[in-house]
């Protein structure tokens, strides 16, 4: 489902080129789950962004759902994301001007596949995450945990083959974080979605089948449970 080969990312800076990720390799099958851990600045988010096609690698390649995205242009990668990828961000990243239901519907509406069926499905997903009654609320009217649940519902709206989570519990309190984790893994099993998550939380990482540890942009360990 996701194959990463000799993935490298280098930024040009005033002080010369800065390599934040070097020669990373791994492969994930359908339904598998993997956590990327490591200290701040180790390259976790960069790796996630490259895997999800949010950025272009400086070297190596990413094959996502059978498509090599390394050489694609931005719009081609956007289409791949829309077809195969779901996201959950640390700071929720809901569109503040849309209601919860509208936020959930965005991935399918981008394909002009909105309408009554999409609305029903969005409502169903919101109900699944416990927010069926809050469908018409705007993000500003929801708590952090509720916003993250809306983001999760949105992530599953396009029935993604792979779900990327960037510190999904980073901004949540203990109980809310626990409930969120249950939801993520529950949906992961139910939909057979591949899961890649970046976290500082080692307990959360242990719930994944595989844990990659990064340091200074390089993989220092790759453990399978």
């Amino acid at each position: 489902m996701l194959k990463v080969e000799r993935l490298t990312k280098t930024y040009a800076t005033a002080g010369g080129p800065l390599t934040v990720l070097r020669e990373v390799n791994f492969e994930l099958l359908r339904g598998a789950s993997m956590a990327i851990v490591g200290p701040s600045g180790s390259g976790k988010t960069t790796l996630l962004g490259l895997c999800a096609g949010l950025d272009r690698p400086s070297g190596g390649d990413v094959v996502l759902a059978g498509e090599s995205i390394g050489a694609m242009n931005e719009d081609q990668r956007a289409l791949v994301r829309n077809r195969h990828v779901g996201f959950v961000f640390q700071n929720f990243q809901l569109v503040p001007t849309l209601t919860a239901q509208e936020n959930v519907m965005v991935p399918v509406e981008l394909r002009d596949e909105g309408g009554a069926a999409a609305e029903a499905r969005a409502l169903e997903l919101l109900t699944r995450v416990g927010l069926g009654a809050r469908a018409d609320h705007y993000p500003v009217q929801l708590s952090g945990g509720e916003q993250q649940r809306v983001a999760l519902a949105r992530a599953f709206m396009n029935e993604p083959k792979i779900l990327f989570c960037d510190e999904p519990t980073g901004n949540l309190d203990g109980d809310t974080a626990h409930a969120m984790v249950e939801l993520i893994f529950g949906l992961n099993h139910e939909k057979q979605t591949t899961l890649v998550l970046v976290t500082h939380d080692l307990e959360l990482a242990k719930k994944c089948q595989r844990v990659i540890r990064l340091k200074s942009g390089a993989v220092i360990s790759d453990e399978t449970a």
Partner: protein, 870 residues
Amino acid sequence: MNFILKMAWRDSRASRRRLVLFSLSVVLGIAALVAIGSLGANLERAIDDQAKGLLGADLIVAGRNPLSEQAVAFVDALGGERAQEKSFTSMMAFPTAEGRTRLVNVRAMEGAFPYYGDFTTVPADAPAKLRAGGEVAIVEETLLRQFNVSVGQQVKLGTTLFTVVGALQKLPGESSALTATMAPRALIPWSTLQATGLADRNVLVRHRTMLKLPALTVPETVERDMRRQFRAEGLGFDTVAERKRNLGRVLDNIENFLGLVGFVALFLGAIGVASAIHVYVQQKIPTVAVLRCLGATARQAFGVYLIQGVALGIFGALVGSALGLIVQVALPPMLGDLLPFEVKFFIAWPAVARGTGAGFVICVLFTLLPLLAVRRVSPLVALRSAFAEKVNAGPDVWRIAIGVFIVAAVAGFSIWQTGRLRDGLAFTAVLGVGFGILGGTAKLVSWAARRWFPRRSPYVVRQGVANLYRPNNRTVLLLLSLGLGTFLMLTLFLTRTTLLKEIEFSGGGGRPNLLFFDIQDDQIDGLKKATAAEGAPVLVDAPIVTMKITALKGRKVEQILRDPAAKREAPAEPKPEGEDAPTKKRMGPGGERLPGWTLRREYRSTFRGALTGTERLVSGTFTGKVRGGEAVVPISLEEGLFKDMGLQLGDEIEWDVQGVPMRTKVGSVRAVEWRRLEPNFFVVFPEGVLEGAPKAYVAAVRAENAEHSARVQRAVVAGFPSVTAIDLALVMQTVDGIFSKVAFVIEFMAGFTVLTGVIVLVGAVLTGRFQRIRETVLLRTLGATQRQLVQIQFVEYAILGVLAAIVGGGLALAGNSLLAKFIFNITPSVPVGLLLLSALAVSAVTVVTGLLTNRGITNHPPLEVLRQET
């Protein structure tokens, strides 16, 4: 597309009020364009509808002398009707107003003129009474009001008392506002004129014959025939077609000028929109990044905000055009008495469409510029903005293309509006330079605020100053909008002040300020005694002898005027007065281009032995006296005329001095200070040659004040009724009167620019409010008091307001100096008080608007504000 529309609609929900506010920036500019365009169409139709009423006759023949018997026989043979008029300026005395006097334009009329159009008087039967003859007069309504004279009371012209039978409101083809300001009209019967004895002694009588031609006779054909047959009579002709052309040209010029003023407002508003959209887009970047993460293409993300930008433009254009139509209803009454015809309101849809379209295009182009940034938002921003690389970084071809489009659109509009490539490009360049200076100053201010940051000042001052250069500062936008508005308004005020000061100065320091002319040979001594008796002795006097040029450097004037090269240069129909067209060129004897007026005009020359205080010798030798019998008399020419005629020292000019030929040569050239109210002349003869010629005198005295001036004038008019007086105060009043009428219209339009500036200011402050809300709330959370927050804003707005006033004022001073130097040829005035007042006003408007717009943030709890604004 479905997604783009849906998303654009949904995304705008929280920002619609803001978007509407942004669009208001262009509303006034579009309103101005629509109003002016539609009004122009109204005027055009009014001219067409009332074409014959513009002239009052089919053909008007004018000249310095009455029509010859042959010419009269010619026009009578055409059939139709003939009316005639003799007009000249004279003094009118008002016995019911303690004998006070006023310069008026006397018109002795005979016949049924006007044949077309309105001759409006109060009461309406006054024209019939005038035609019946007798000692009756119809007098300009404003003059009667000024001297508190009612119908039935008497006024005096020369030695004759006239009973006022009506107040004159309108004569066909004449603008009552302008004629009433310069020389109010007094109509008297032709048959009574002789009794006044005025016309015989007046050297500036103008004769007009008004013709109503039979239905099938073409006025232009009659004009051509008369021109050919009576060339020697120096006649001028006016037809309906000519009047329409001239009026159309004047109105076109006014429309173009006002259109440009409106366009400046639109341009300023468009910059306001661009700036607001820039901030708006910055705030939307996280949303765009999320959409990109979820699979939106660059086209889709851009489309969402492009739709919002276009909707903003459509809204602004529609509201602007609606407001424009309301303004248009208000404009004709405002212009009312400036126009020589009535204007009926109608909506000129093509003009509305043009104004709306131009406004929409400019607004969308300016919106596109900041919107293009949306295409380059990286989805990585959703993860961590610090890592975000610009997608496709490098020069943006679209940005360059839109920049070029904007310049082309501005230049295209300017060329279209001015009707000339050169003027349009010049306007675009001036606009560019003006904006460049204001923008450059703003950048300089930002730089200087950072460079010389007042580190030891109190916290609120440091914060206020820092706001001038911090990211997302409003320094450039506010300086542009406020500075430009200040510049336009102040230039107008300064020009007006400069002109009035100049006139005032010309009569200061003991210089003459009351001028008498049309003084006959036998009256000059008596007049000197009369004015001296009233405490105002004659300071300067000069004899005037009228004459015409017959040959130049041995070549007859007729010959020069018939020159084929001259015909190519000259318009088909010269003006009735002949001398009113200084731009018409003729080829002189040496092949040089020669303005026709210099050859055709009647010269009123003088003779004296020395230069006066208002003259300076530029070249040659001034000859003060010659012995009788000199074959070629050395004369002195005014510098401008000398240049216009392309003459050299020693060149010969032959004159017809009231029937007597006289050969002269250019002996010297003088620079003349025309602005002084003293007798000045184009041509000065030496003593010893013109003493025997029929002549009149002009004399100047100095009155201490208005009351003294009125007393002297009363005494002169009582003793010498045919003498005419011009008071400097009257000149000032006339200039001021014309200026205030024209200035009112210009100020009205410039008001649009200033109001746009205020709207842009409100928009800028509001966008700043969204930008800085977190910071303000943070300061509030950390314990800043409301007073401190207000003080920080006060410092920022006060600096911006003062700077805008200084830069706008500086530009206005420069503009006024250029106008004074190159257009009016006078010394510019610098009214310090007015400048200080303007600076205070602009600063106050900025501070008050800034503080009012920010009010909500400073006096509410931080959490409440954050919940409302995010």
